[in-house]
Amino acid sequence: MAAVNSIKPRKQSPVAQKAIEHYIGLSQSLNAKTQNQMLSAKRLDAQKKLQALGLPMRRDEDWQYTSLNHWMQTAFEQNLPGWGKVNPDQLKAILPIFGTHRFVWIDGVFSQDLSCDSASLPSGLTVESAEITNADLVDSNHAFELLHDMLAENRTKIRVQKNVAIEKPVELVYIQTQPKSLATLSLDVQVEENAQLTLIQQVVSFADEPVCINGVLQMELAAQAICKQYVVQDLNTNDFYFNNQHVHQQASSVFDTLYVGLGAEVSRHQNTVNLCGEYADASQNTIAFGKGEQTIDSRTDTQHLAPHCNSQQLHKFVLDEQSRGVFNGMIYVAKGAQKTDGQMDNKNLLLSNNAKMDTKPQLEIYADDVKCSHGCASGQIDENQVFYCQARGIHQHDAVQLITKAFLLEPLDNVSNEAIRDWLMQRVSKLLA
């Protein structure tokens, strides 16, 4: 990464400048608390870098469809005193009924009461939370990763030992209860050789006013490891969500992720998957439903760095009212990554004339013996399909709903665990009704 001093400072709007200063202030107060000098130094670096690079603007190629104007206007706070009340009924409505190893954070603080006992975890699985160290930081030029480096206090580490298959999913629930609260999530997942893990992550808000989630996940999948991940983002429609996931896969490992983006005013979920070992397989899917003034941004960057790897993607967006959908996908095939098979599909349904969809499916290929393709289609509901249903006695309104639902839920076909699939289906269907 470029050294801080070599970055040419960018001019920022007064609002952006104010926001940067606010978060630098938060970072400084964290630094005052820690004993770890190396961590402080790294945080300081991140502060300087953010100051120089500034916040993303619409002018930036990667942010031209995702506006941060509203986000900048709210000064989110970390470590607010006291917790908001979590209504058990509210909680019950969002939690799955099947058994999981559950861990709950409220406003970014671990809640012992609502979580399972970590001593009761099966052997081979550990879930620990500890103070973040300088080695855990991302050190990138991405504004929200810099904010993570500046503001993360704790890091949750999940380990699955060699040859262990964890049957019950590990469930991580992040609940925001207080207005203007910011949770910086830092997650580290390591699945050792030939081990298996299913991970469910949920972010929800019970606060009336905007909250913000900023997460970074780093995952290492050793040879033959398998990880299935389901991320459900169901915040309120005035919230903000940013998540950057970095995955490194070794030979013959399998990574299967599904992002379900339902809430937030502005949400941005980015996967960076590095296929480093031969025969690794990655599948990345999105289910996104937008309404009101929401912007739902889902991005993938799939780096085929070794031969014989497969990647599949299916990203489906349904956009109603004035919502905006953004998909940006990159399949990169390095020189020598022969026999790559990369497939990326993005299909979008626009339900309203004011909805917008911006798509950029990209291919960058430096090897010749590969099969790579992307497909992308946007449109409205096919009148013929509605007519077909109506001719069979289904009311027009129901027909539209039926078709929309079937369209949106297609990525669930890949979910092998029936209980998880039913639960996700129920979560998404609730919104469509």
């Binding site: 626009l350 917008k356 911006d358 798509t359 499916p361 990209q362 090897a367 393709s373 992308c376 289609a377």
Partner: protein, 497 residues
Amino acid sequence: MSEATQYEEINDLLSKKTGYKEGFVTQTSVETFEKGISEEVVRAISAKKNEPEWMLEFRLKAYRHWLTMEEPHWAKANYNPLDYQDYSYYSAPECSACGGDTCAADEAKKAEIAEMDLEVAKAFAALGVPIVGSENENTNIAVDAIFDSVSVSTTKREELEKLGIIFCSFSEAVHEHPELVQKYLGTVVPYHDNYFAALNSAVASDGTFVYIPENVRCPIDLSTYFRINEAKTGQFERTILIADKNSYVSYLEGCSAPVRDTYQLHAAVVEVIVLDDAEVKYSTVQNWYPGDDDCEGGILNFVTKRGICEGKNSKLSWTQAETGSAITWKYPSCILKGDNSIGEFYSVALTNRRQQADTGTKMIHIGKNTRSTIISKGLSAGRSDNTYRGLVKILPSAENARNFTQCDSMLIGDQCGAHTFPYIEVENATAKMEHEATTSRIGEDQLFYCQQRGISEQDAISMIVNGYCKEVFKELPLEFAQEAEELLAISLEGSVG
């Protein structure tokens, strides 16, 4: 054949020099401006062409704006920043310049053709461009030949004039049809559009001006041939094509340049205006000198081409075969403003050696029921990079807009790159758009199949590649399609295994 030996063979073949037969230099006395660009140079170019005040104003406005801009580098192409003071911005064969001030007058022009420098005439003859009287009697094509900064000859003008068609050089049009030029210049590509468009607007050398009047179907193909001859000159043509109501024209463009050892700059601007019910077919076979094995000395082809389907039911179709240039940076675009208008883009882009091509199109849907089709075929060989970059934008007003995009890339060898960067922005729910992209290579089984039937490897490759490009070539006028196919074969020679 094992992978390793197969590639060795490719590399052996690649290292053989492939012929660029248009690479000769014409020796003729020329008038060339001193290197460098400044307000004086802009004024001098304008004075040389004896231009009216408004044209000079346009140039100066563009030049001043250009000074405030930065050279863009977002395209997927690597090159050292250009030194704009190291180019000459005007160069013309001397005897055709006719002392400058009478250059635009009709008599002078006619005399000029008769007296045109023999060397220049020879050059065009060698290129197979019919510009001299007797030769073009039988050809079914009218040609405007441009040599460095000036148009040296425009054929079949009288014949076209009878139909009311204006087909002349841009400089002439400025004098003879100022009302038309003023009305349309800069309306599709404004002088502040981008860095190279601004530079072009400031120092525009020559170009072609075409006007097809109402209800006229142009009976022959119109064509422009561009030739860069002088070393270290930039060519900045400005082409304007206007198809008035219910008219039709097919316009072709060809180009070449001699072999040089430094990069040469070509920054053209093309504006096409299509009115109600009119149709324009714009075809380009681009064969600029690509440079030596490392693409040193090739042409930098930074072109802004844009057309507007202004009227309802209008149609604009871009077809291009791109085989030359060290770096190509070109996005022929359609603004589909009129209801029911149609935009088409067919492209074959071939890169070999170290060539870099970043090309594609923009389809901006504004009117109702507008339709667009994009078929792009990229072929990369050698150590080249071939990029498709395109935008399909459907504005809220574009009810029932329809787009179909297909970009296929073919990689030949394991040292090249093929990339696809499509931007799709949909703001209307009734719009339907589809995008597909695939990447492949010539299958060993396909080659085996042909070879088994007694077709040599080279022929088999040529056959497969031509089949792959057929969708685009069938859009080109016949002679051009043939030329494009031949070019493809030459450029591909020895690049495949």
